[in-house]
Amino acid sequence: MNEERPPLTKKERMAIDRVVMPEQDPELRAINFREVNQGLTYQLALLEAQRCLECPKEYCIAGCPVSVNIPRFIRFLRDGDVAAAANSLLADNALPCVTGRVCPQETQCELVCLRGKTGEPVAIGYLERYVADWAQAHADELEHATATRTRKSVGVIGSGPAGLTAAGELVHRGHDVTIFEAFHAAGGVLIYGIPEFRLPKDIVQAEVDRLKEAGVKIEPNAIIGKTFTLPELRERFDAIFVAVGAGLPVFMNVPGENLKGVYSANEYLTRVNLMGAWNEESDTPILHGRRVAVVGGGNVAMDSVRTARRLGASESTIVYRRGREELPARIEEVHHAEAEGIEFKFQVAPVEVIGDEQGWVTGLRCIEMSLGEPDASGRRRPEPIPGSEFELPCDMVVVAIGTRANPLLTASAPDLVVNERGYLQTDAHGMTSMPGVFAGGDIVRGAATVILAMGDGKRAAGAIDAYLNGTYPPEEKPAVEPRHRSAAATA
């Protein structure tokens, strides 16, 4: 407990307005891949930290899928002790540089922040990013816990947010950790999916390097289910954590979808991000659409539509079957997209991709939708309006309507129980039907967010540690369930 009296009174702190994130100019950034958000200065971060009221209930911690002790790191920051803030944050969150940029704070910590009741919530995400970036730049000034080696080994399959988080937690508990990655580079969706302008790849690389320095081994080009089977790995390691994500694109299943110029968001973003096709030095080709339609309303759709804009599209349009209120994307991404000249067509669904005789896309035939009663997800159900079809001219279409489970790994492990949609079934602590094999992230919960995957990785690491120590099942709270942004949350 910090007994020091804060320098400002509550009233004074209430009077401070929420900080505005410095951004690259929208016109300039719409033609480059540099990061949009420039980060807070020390002064801005200190001022924003003063806005935290340190309420006794600490709703924000409960709102965080990895239970970051938010008031604690903010308090250190407010007192000007950034190193202490960094140590505090890193103790709770393995990848704060990442989450400070890509978390949907408005549906998590900032949603429940008390200050949001009467005004704007504390900019927790911006503060997290500030402290995390400081920590990355001042790594040698931070605490480095050294754990006693346990001589137990864990194989982690997948190097995305769940895998990296689990690997970090496990290596710090003294276990010998090897990550298997299917691609040639580690980072999963952080590397192939999220674009440079939202999450610079140097930052992800620094996080991966930090894990390597801590002793984590990374084996690239290892496709589990092909290069090795899961049962083979199980024999090599004392425990396994499966965090392969939901690596299969969902297509619209409409005529014309195989025309040239139709990409899955997975393919489009992987070409641009992992393979660096945005950069002239890369050998990987990418189509530069002039009029691009991106189907979907989530973060992946926003990433795709803004990427297309940066690659020279004069018209880059989101086609979404529900309304603005239902967009699942982070609110900041939607605002950024709008500022960059992205167009939004709401309550519209594609029915056919139109092409020319050479097989190239020339348009997207769409139908207008009306919104009915809320469905199981709490969002209004879209229904096609008969006779409302129209053609949206375009030369490229990116399909960003979700992903599903990739059967490559599960097919190599007949003992692994999957549900009807191909996702892995686990107990309350993340263990699958194979003893010693744990799973988390999108391959368990279906396509979700970076932070939920990290939460799974963190909890699974605790469970794996207990398993290796012979104290399984651990005494831990069950997983935090994903939440959809409700109408009330955005009001």
């Binding site: 299917a182 496709i223 290069t227 979808e257 040239k260 080709p285 097989g359 990739n406």
Partner: protein, 288 residues
């Protein structure tokens, strides 16, 4: 890193590289492929595993230099290395257990045929290989296929073996009777012609589709092909499919997606090399 152990020139624009890949050499099966990335900035490209030596820990990659990435690869010399090789990918070939199989290889596609013929022969299946090329120098792997059975080379210009296309030799083989299956790999027009030829005879025909790929694990969907009216992924559902069900026109069409980029990249590469005084070993025309 995967060191090149040996290199062999097979035809004017086809080379064989024998590279270290011990795990893949141990477990690969006929029909499977790898994704290769030469190094930083390079493309990921799918290449068939033409052969493997589990004891030496090496696999054979047979590469046709048609674009920048393949030119870069075939210029590697023994001792140099490839950064990334991932695999083995794709579903193994469904092979006959007995009977008579005809394996048809066109150009670099012959490299896909070789492990199929080898395994069929090992199982005791009678193998007839028909290998085609424009002229004598384009016919590859005849000797190795010869160890698996009879080989009938064909050349378009009649400079070697039987004059004419592989389909003519195949037609004679089928009409002679007793052919239980055909495996055909080569340029799209060849696979289409073979499939059309065998269809009226009802001979099961397997083709291997060289679709554009990125990850090779089903994640990007770039390799989608139309088979039996349905979209399938060449990387995980294939690369081999029933030739009688494949929409070859759609395949050829999608394969042309990056043709302009490929030509530009190659031209840029040639220009860079001309400037530095180097010459490309062969400026082969691109076969489509």
């Amino acid at each position: 890193m995967h060191t090149i152990r040996a290199k062999q020139h097979l035809s004017p624009n086809v080379w064989r590289l024998v590279v270290d890949a011990p795990r893949i050499a141990e477990i690969r099966r006929p029909g499977q492929f790898v994704i290769v990335r030469l190094g930083a900035g390079a493309e990921r490209i799918p290449l068939t595993i033409a052969d493997a030596d589990p004891e030496a820990g090496t696999i054979s990659l047979v590469i046709q230099s048609v674009g920048k990435s393949t030119y870069d690869l075939v210029e590697l010399e023994p001792g140099q290395a490839i950064s990334d090789i991932a695999g083995p990918l794709g579903s193994p070939t469904e092979l006959l257990e007995a009977g008579h199989a005809v394996c048809v290889g066109g150009g670099v596609g012959t490299a896909v045929i070789l492990p199929i013929a080898q395994e069929l022969s090992r199982r005791g299946v009678r193998v007839t290989s028909i290998v085609g090329g424009r002229s004598r120098e384009w016919v590859i792997m005849e000797e190795e296929l010869g160890r698996a059975g009879e080989v009938l080379p064909c050349t378009d210009d009649g400079s070697y073996g039987r004059p004419g296309f592989v389909t003519e030799a195949l037609k004679d083989a089928i009409e002679a009777g007793g052919v239980d299956a055909v495996y055909a790999v080569g340029p799209v027009p060849m696979m289409r012609a073979v499939s059309e030829l065998t269809r009226p005879y009802g001979v099961p025909t397997t083709v291997s589709l060289n679709a554009i790929m990125l990850d090779g694990t089903g994640m990007c969907g770039g390799c989608r092909v139309t088979v039996g009216g349905e979209t399938r992924y060449a990387c995980v559902d294939g690369p081999e499919f029933d030739g009688h069900q494949v929409d070859f026109r759609a395949l050829a069409d999608r394969l042309s997606t990056y043709r302009v980029f490929e030509q530009e990249a190659l031209a840029k590469r040639e220009a860079c090399r001309a400037e530095s005084g180097e010459t490309t070993p062969i400026a082969a025309e691109v076969r489509s």
